[in-house]
């Protein structure tokens, strides 16, 4: 009897230790990256680093503004493209589509959610870049290589399609059919029911899906690295190239030890990514709680 209880205790303590350790990973990562970016933080203020546009590591100039803007442009673009398309698709699948189509389409979407980003990058290079270069950009600008914010946005958008569609379909399927019937029996059309009742009820879930999609797009590295052009100048339009933060980090890792402060600057960019994601998560969680209370 005693042995059983002892075993329970010992194993419990072990599990607790593991849990505490893995939970504190957020903190550990934060501290680790912060320590590594200390050298550059001692030389420049955060404000300087974030607002300066000049990136000349050899001369000791480390301005992250172009990269931050690049990240925001590309992420924003992808969300702008993906959210409306995915919402309409998810609504179609859950409210309108014949059951047979749904049975065929949804597993396919779920499967594609597992395809690694590098494949989306490959597709972007082969398919999207030439389209942007030859057919889209010439209508708006004189010259474009195709490696632009737009291309990055499209590739990221397609990458997050499966994610958003599958979550939103799941969310819509949790809405009781009686709620639909209540609206329909008042003489509302199907679309009115969707627009005024279902989307409203599903809003917290949809919001959460979009938050997840934004984090995914925001931190994506290899796919954007392959299609954004990587020019360290803040983009002014969707036909300019961009150089998102993760791409900066990935592109320069090889040589970072050979230039003073360079490794610290790159670690700072990882630290910045982490902080932005954390803040974004906290804010969206707070908003979500507000909505859920209001919607309850």
């Amino acid at each position: 009897m005693k042995i059983r209880l002892l075993k329970d205790k010992v194993i419990g303590t072990g599990m607790l230790a593991l849990s505490v350790l893995s939970v504190s990973l957020v903190l550990l990562i934060g501290i680790g990256l912060y320590l590594r970016s200390l050298p550059i933080l001692q030389q420049y203020s955060v404000w300087e680093l974030v607002t300066s546009s000049s990136w000349r590591p050899m001369k000791g100039e480390f301005g992250f503004f172009p990269f931050i803007m690049g990240t925001l442009w590309v992420t924003g673009m992808s969300i702008l493209i993906a959210v409306p398309l995915c919402l309409f698709t998810a609504i179609y699948l859950s409210e309108y589509a014949p059951a047979s189509f749904k049975r065929f389409f949804l597993p396919l979407v779920n499967m594609l959610a597992g395809i690694p980003p590098v494949i989306y990058g490959v597709w972007g290079v082969f398919f999207i870049i030439p389209i942007v270069q030859r057919y889209i950009a010439p209508h708006f600008v004189e010259f474009s290589t195709g490696y632009t914010v737009l291309a990055g946005g499209i590739v990221l958008a397609v990458m997050i399609f499966p994610l958003i569609v599958s979550i939103v379909v799941e969310v819509l399927s949790t809405i009781p059919k009686e709620l639909r019937e209540a609206s329909l029996s008042l003489g509302a059309t199907k679309w009115e029911t969707v627009k005024k009742v279902i989307l409203r009820k599903a809003f917290p879930g949809i919001f959460a899906a979009i938050v997840l999609a934004i984090s995914r797009a925001f931190g994506e590295t290899i796919a954007v690295l392959m299609v954004c052009g990587n020019v360290p100048i803040a983009p002014q339009s969707i036909f300019d190239p961009a150089y998102p933060l993760p791409a900066l980090l990935a592109n320069n890792f090889g040589e970072m030890m050979s230039v003073p402060l360079y490794d610290s600057a790159l670690m700072f960019s990882a630290f910045a990514l982490l902080i932005i994601i954390l803040i974004f998560n906290i804010i969206s969680r707070a908003i979500l709680q507000k909505i859920e209370i209001r919607n309850a």
């Binding site: 075993k7 594609l112 395809i115 397609v158 990882a270 994601i277």
Partner: protein, 278 residues
């Protein structure tokens, strides 16, 4: 009335367009990889390691990268399992639902889930510099382990919450200790564990950003944890950047191999989950 009908009609048209668009894009991805990759696919690719000058278009294969990816993803999945199963059990079975630490931990894993893989890579790299470990199989495994822990914990968490509550009450009523109850749970969530494993493995095989600086790259199949290891996605990335058409073609062929692997993994896990649901 006319306006309402028109609105309904427009909405439907938009939905059909969106669905077609999304469907076609996803279809095109698979299509591109298959059409471009198939002509370059041969047995050498999956059975040989690169000969000298492989990246300039000479003969050889990608076996080093395939094995490397399997090692990295496999090692990370095993390590991840050793950590995430106890953690998920502890949070759900040992602790009460209302427990403050359990709630905080779930929140932390949600946050970790959203942390980009490149951040894990950078952190693992810093850790390696600190510990004096060079870019190697071990480094890659550590980075990917960090990446898959939140994925596995979250998946298991969901699986465990779906176990009927009666089970907990029934086993506790029989006078079982929490550890004995945890073992009962472990049996109940066997398929769930497999799903989590497949999910983590798929993620590990496909990820580039975490292994980029931690695993290194090598033309040989690593024989120890301290040797650098090539990974398939990274090999695709390198080859696609080459100006030589032959090498680019191999990038597509490698992409095809990777896609097929992932699709098999995902299909198996989907089938398993569906079976469990029924």
């Amino acid at each position: 009335m006319r306006r309402r009908k028109l609105e309904e009609w427009i909405a439907k048209a938009l939905m059909l367009f969106s669905t077609a668009f999304v469907g076609i894009c996803l279809f095109l991805i698979i299509g591109t990889v298959v059409v471009k990759g198939l002509p370059y696919l041969d047995w050498d690719m999956v059975t040989k390691i690169p000969d000298g000058g492989y990246y300039f278009g000479r003969s050889g294969g990608m076996l080093n990268a395939i094995i490397g990816s399997l090692y990295v993803a496999g090692g990370a999945t095993v390590l991840g399992m050793c950590i995430s199963i106890p953690v998920a059990l502890y949070l759900n079975v040992y602790l009460k639902k209302s427990n403050a630490f359990a709630r905080f931990a779930k929140l932390a894993f949600d946050v970790l889930f959203g942390v980009p893989s490149i951040v894990y890579g950078a952190f693992a790299f810093s850790l390696m510099v600190y510990l004096g470990v060079r870019a190697s199989l071990l480094g890659g495994i550590i980075a990917v382990t960090l990446l898959v822990i939140p994925i596995m914990v979250r998946t298991l968490d969901e699986v465990i919450t779906n176990v009927p509550k009666d089970l907990k009450e029934a086993t506790l009523a029989m006078g079982a200790t929490r550890w004995e109850m945890a073992k009962v749970y472990l049996l109940q969530i066997k398929t769930g564990i497999l799903t989590a494993v497949l999910l983590a493995f798929g993620r590990g095989v496909g990820d580039v950003a975490a292994v980029m600086f931690t695993a290194g790259f090598s033309d040989n199949i690593p024989v120890s944890l301290h040797e650098p290891a090539a990974t398939l996605p990274l090999a695709i990335f390198f080859q696609l950047g080459s100006p030589i058409p032959e090498v680019q073609g191999r990038a597509y062929a490698s992409a095809l191999i990777l896609t097929v692997c992932i699709l098999i993994i995902v299909s198996v896990s989907t089938i398993l989950t569906n079976k469990k649901r029924k």
